[in-house]
């Protein structure tokens, strides 16, 4: 699943310290949602394709978030931001939808009723993930936020040392 992150000394690593726990919980939820969605689609796909497809889709997003947080490179951090935001939007939207229009979701999904079936972990986890991404960024970038006058870093090239062009 993981090689040791290539830059363990990076102060902003999203997988160090508390991030180690965050990635584990993300990984467990990723496996749970993906296996469940795949199983339900395979055995009972016709009865509730929306619900089961949603579970599988959510599982894929959790897999992406797990890998992105585990890597913690600048590019992976951007992916993690998007994945966590999608998860939060998904759990809120589906949570409301399952209450307003329960008929659309005859079978439970990982996001139904704000993730109640998973101990509300799907509701809490993206929030924790976003906060963690913000905190690890602040720790690394606190000095650069003040000085926009010079911006030597090209955002498309976060790692200049492998830049000799070819």
């Amino acid at each position: 699943m993981q090689r040791t992150p290539t830059a363990p000394s990076s102060p902003s690593s999203t997988s160090a310290g508390f991030g180690r726990l965050l990635v584990l919980v993300y990984g467990i939820l990723a496996v749970a949602a993906t296996v469940r969605g795949a199983y339900q689609l395979a055995t009972d796909g016709a009865s509730a394709p929306l619900a089961y497809g949603l579970s599988l889709g959510a599982g894929v997003v959790y897999v992406v978030a797990t890998l992105a947080l585990g890597r913690g490179t600048p590019g992976a951090r951007r992916v993690a931001w998007v994945a966590c935001a999608v998860e939060l939007g998904g759990v809120l939207a589906v949570g409301v939808a399952t209450i307003v229009d329960a008929d659309a979701f005859p079978e439970a999904t990982v996001w139904s009723s704000f993730g109640q079936g998973y101990g509300y972990v799907p509701l809490v986890l993206p929030v924790v993930g976003l906060v963690w991404l913000a905190r690890t960024r602040r720790g690394a970038a606190s000095s650069t936020t003040v000085g926009p006058a010079t911006d030597p870093t090209d955002p498309t090239d976060p790692d200049p040392k492998d830049a000799p062009d070819r």
């Binding site: 993981q2 040791t4 180690r20 584990l24 919980v25 496996v31 749970a32 199983y39």
Partner: protein, 120 residues
């Protein structure tokens, strides 16, 4: 179920011991040590035995259960500890112990789900 129960209890007991051991390390601000990985390997070995026993029972007795759902849990529960233990061991802070606690408790939870599936 009567054959599985003692084995399941053994797995749950071993996983709880492992989680308690790791929780003690987390409280006392220590990282996971090699001996705990060996403990995790013992739990993992019991899980493999459980998989084999369950496979034999399914093949011979064909209990009236959702076999594929059962297999999903039997296989998934095998994945937790190897990945989590390696993931924990690479972190040299108390968080590695917290990781092992959560992983061991996840195994306990999956065992509970297995018993549910098997007995309904």
């Amino acid at each position: 179920m009567p054959v599985v129960a003692p084995l399941t209890l053994l797995v749950v007991a071993a996983a709880l011991v492992l989680s308690g051991w790791a929780a003690w390390f987390a409280v006392t601000d220590r990282a996971v040590v090699l001996r705990q990985l060996l403990g995790a390997a013992v739990v993992e070995a019991l899980l493999v035995v459980q998989l084999v026993v369950a496979a034999v029972l399914i093949a011979t007795g064909s209990p009236d259960i959702e076999v594929w759902e059962l297999w999903g849990y039997l296989v998934t529960v095998l994945l937790i500890l190897p990945f989590a233990a390696a993931w924990a061991f690479a972190e040299r802070s108390r968080w590695s112990s917290v990781v092992l606690v959560v992983a061991a408790l996840t195994v306990v939870f999956l065992e509970w789900r297995l018993v549910q599936i098997w007995s309904r």
